[in-house]
């Protein structure tokens, strides 16, 4: 008899999620029909290659290659970022052309642009996007700010959900102003006075907020429909999509979009205990977010963009005290449920490598940007599959020959013994197409394990 999910070991859970990824479903939930037996074979071969690299149990047939861009597919297809955000057909066309033309073993889907109309409807303040704060031909960028004030740690710690709904969301979405008036839900208890809790829903600002939410929800649904169809089409053509969703390190949750870089740095000196307590409070929520998505999507890989932990952003001591413990807990929580955390260590992480290698083997997949690859392979690379390190500047201004030489050297250095995937090191907007081709093609030719 098949074991229940709770009875499985973490290893078995990971295997089960890999198996679900290997047997993809269409948007209706039926077994996906591949375009041809050849594309099905190609899909399974690519996935086996990726899985072997991640698990580090046996050598893959060759070094896999990912291409993980930001807006590059959009420029490559000759449309603007603005068009890609407001016209889902154009967005899907661009990302499809990108995957079909470059044939990477793994791609990140067509999620980067996101639904422009949705952001308009909710008056999203956290970002400037093309046509809305930045020019139509540029990518969206974050507007850092103090969206959580220095004296609001207690509110976050006491009740994170309430803090988000009533305080944080109205600050980052102009149209959610009405959420400030939402009732405290645990106050809804018995017939006596129960209706009082619902008074806010009769008030015009709250009703206006809900009207905006219905519109935004409909748009989100339209967008995810387009993404689902894209995923099915690209998978059917034989190309695995390498991340099912995302979660974050608690320090980044607070430092990126709640307190902001400057403020969280001050908090480390002025109210370290509150900061630590808040991160502890967020840890199980970040685990739940990642595990939930992995379960729903039937896919083990859970992307974790890392920001404030890079070299120089914290001292060694601060990294060990504030960043690493809860980041590690989130990863271990995901691993326990069979998911594979996929942290992206953008920028330089060379001084962190010895600390972050304290992980079980074959359970994580790290994107490495400009860290010292020799050191990375000797430390973190002993327990985790690494991908990345092909530099952005090389892809933009280099020549195909330079890219080829770089990739060969990278395979010699980091590819030895498996546990490595060639990829760009940072999410990029610009690149010469011939350089991206050179990265993929060199890996396929030179990366074969003998």
């Amino acid at each position: 008899m098949e074991k229940k999910w709770e009875e499985l070991t973490p290893d078995e859970k990971q295997e089960a999620l890999f198996n679900r990824w290997l047997s993809p479903k269409d948007p209706q939930g039926n077994d996906l029909k591949f375009q041809s037996p050849q594309t099905e074979k190609a899909y399974k071969e690519r996935l086996a290659r990726i899985k072997d690299a991640i698990q580090m149990k046996k050598l893959p047939d060759r070094v896999p290659v990912f291409v993980a861009p930001s807006f590059f597919p959009v420029y490559y297809a000759g449309i603007t970022p603005k068009e890609s955000m407001y016209d889902y057909d154009k967005c899907c066309m661009a990302f499809k052309k990108f995957v079909i033309d470059f044939e990477p073993d793994g791609n990140l889907g067509a999620y980067v642009p996101g639904p422009g109309k949705f952001f308009d409807t909710l008056d999203y303040k956290l970002y400037s996007w093309p046509g809305h704060g930045v020019a139509p031909e540029q990518s969206y960028q974050c507007n850092e700010g103090e969206y959580m004030k220095a004296d609001e740690y207690d509110a976050l710690i006491d009740d994170p959900s309430n803090f988000f709904s009533n305080i944080y969301l109205p600050r980052v979405f102009g149209a959610l102003e009405g959420f400030k008036m939402l009732p405290m839900l645990p106050g809804i208890l018995e017939i006596y006075g129960v209706a009082v809790n619902f008074i806010p829903f009769g008030l015009p600002p709250v009703q206006a907020t809900y009207k905006a939410l219905f519109e935004a929800g409909a748009e989100a649904l339209k967008w995810i429909g387009a993404m689902g169809a894209w995923n099915a089409e690209i998978t059917a053509a034989g190309f695995p999509i390498i991340a099912a969703g995302f979660t974050k390190a608690p320090f980044d949750v607070i430092g990126d979009t709640l307190r902001g870089t400057r403020s969280i740095m001050l908090d480390m000196y002025r109210q370290p205990d509150k900061l630590l307590e808040a991160m502890d409070r967020l840890t199980p929520l970040m685990i739940k977010m990642g595990v939930g998505t992995a379960q729903m999507a039937g896919h083990p890989l859970m992307f974790m963009p890392l920001h404030k932990g890079a070299d120089g952003f914290l001292s060694d001591e601060q990294f060990k005290k504030f960043y690493w413990p809860t980041f590690r807990k989130v990863m271990m929580g995901l691993i326990a449920e069979g998911a594979v955390p996929m942290p992206a260590a953008e920028g330089h992480w060379t001084t962190r490598l010895e600390v972050v290698q304290d992980l079980p083997k074959g359970k994580t997949l790290w994107m490495i940007d400009q860290s010292d690859m020799v050191k990375a392979k000797k430390t973190l690379g002993k327990v985790a599959c690494l991908f990345g390190n092909v530099p952005s500047d090389l892809l933009v201004v280099g020549t195909p020959q330079q890219v080829k030489d770089y990739v060969k050297n990278l395979i010699d250095t980091a590819g030895k013994g498996g546990g490595f995937i060639v990829s760009n090191g940072a999410f990029f907007d610009q690149a010469k197409a011939e350089n991206v081709h050179a990265m993929v093609d060199t890996t396929k030719e030179y990366g074969v394990y003998k």
Binding site: S128, V134, S139, R270, F313, D393
Partner: protein, 209 residues
């Protein structure tokens, strides 16, 4: 006493530093003298950052303490503080890019190392750089950028400076997360730095300090 403030600030002792300033002002100490001590403290912070003893949070925190000290002292100031500056630098994040953390650190380090910095902010069009170079007569320009799209913006800015007839009057340095020697060549800049201290070293070299 004087040494206390220098050390308190250099060692990031916020409460202690503020108490010294308040007590000093209460006892009738010369406000300019207090600011001078604060400046000395910040120089030590800058030096420790350059030596990798301090990191970005330490810079941010020291800047915050300095701001508080300045606010305490300001009402007592009768004459404007006279500071001798090494030279002028025009600095900003190039058009299309709104990232400011890296730029702010370079501004900070140039400032504590004695430069007069004209910080033009983020998403700065080429013309704004040109106007400020003309107005200030600054011999050094710093272009910051985090995104790959900044490579082209930097290139265009350098070309615009050239077209305005100013290229031989200024030295241009560039910096940002993905900036390398190759990008320096591509943009036509004179040099690049991969950390804030490299920017200070370049600026000092260029003005012959």
């Amino acid at each position: 006493m004087a040494k206390d403030l220098v050390n308190a600030l250099a060692n990031l002792k916020e409460e202690e530093a503020l108490k010294i300033v308040k007590d000093g002002l209460g006892a009738g100490e010369e406000p300019l003298k207090i600011l001078d001590d604060a400046k000395k403290g910040m120089e030590i912070v800058g030096k420790r950052f350059a030596d990798s003893q301090y990191f970005i949070p330490d810079l941010v925190y020291s800047g915050e303490i300095l701001k508080e000290i300045t606010e305490l002292v300001k009402p007592k100031l009768t004459a404007a503080a006279e500071t001798k500056r090494l030279g002028k630098v025009v600095l900003g994040t190039v058009a299309g890019d709104i990232h400011d953390i890296g730029k702010d650190i370079v501004v900070f380090m140039l400032d504590v190392n004695g430069f007069e910095v004209y910080d033009l902010g983020v998403d700065v069009p080429a013309q704004k750089f040109i106007d400020k170079i003309k107005e200030s007569g600054a011999p050094i320009v710093g272009l910051s950028g985090f995104l790959t799209l900044a490579f082209d913006s930097m290139k265009e800015t350098v070309e615009a400076i050239k077209a305005a007839g100013l290229r031989d009057k200024v030295k241009v340095m560039i910096g940002g997360g993905q900036i390398t020697e190759e990008i320096k060549k591509y943009t036509g800049a004179d040099a690049y730095g991969n950390n804030a201290m490299a920017g200070v070293t370049l600026a000092k070299k260029w003005i012959g300090a």
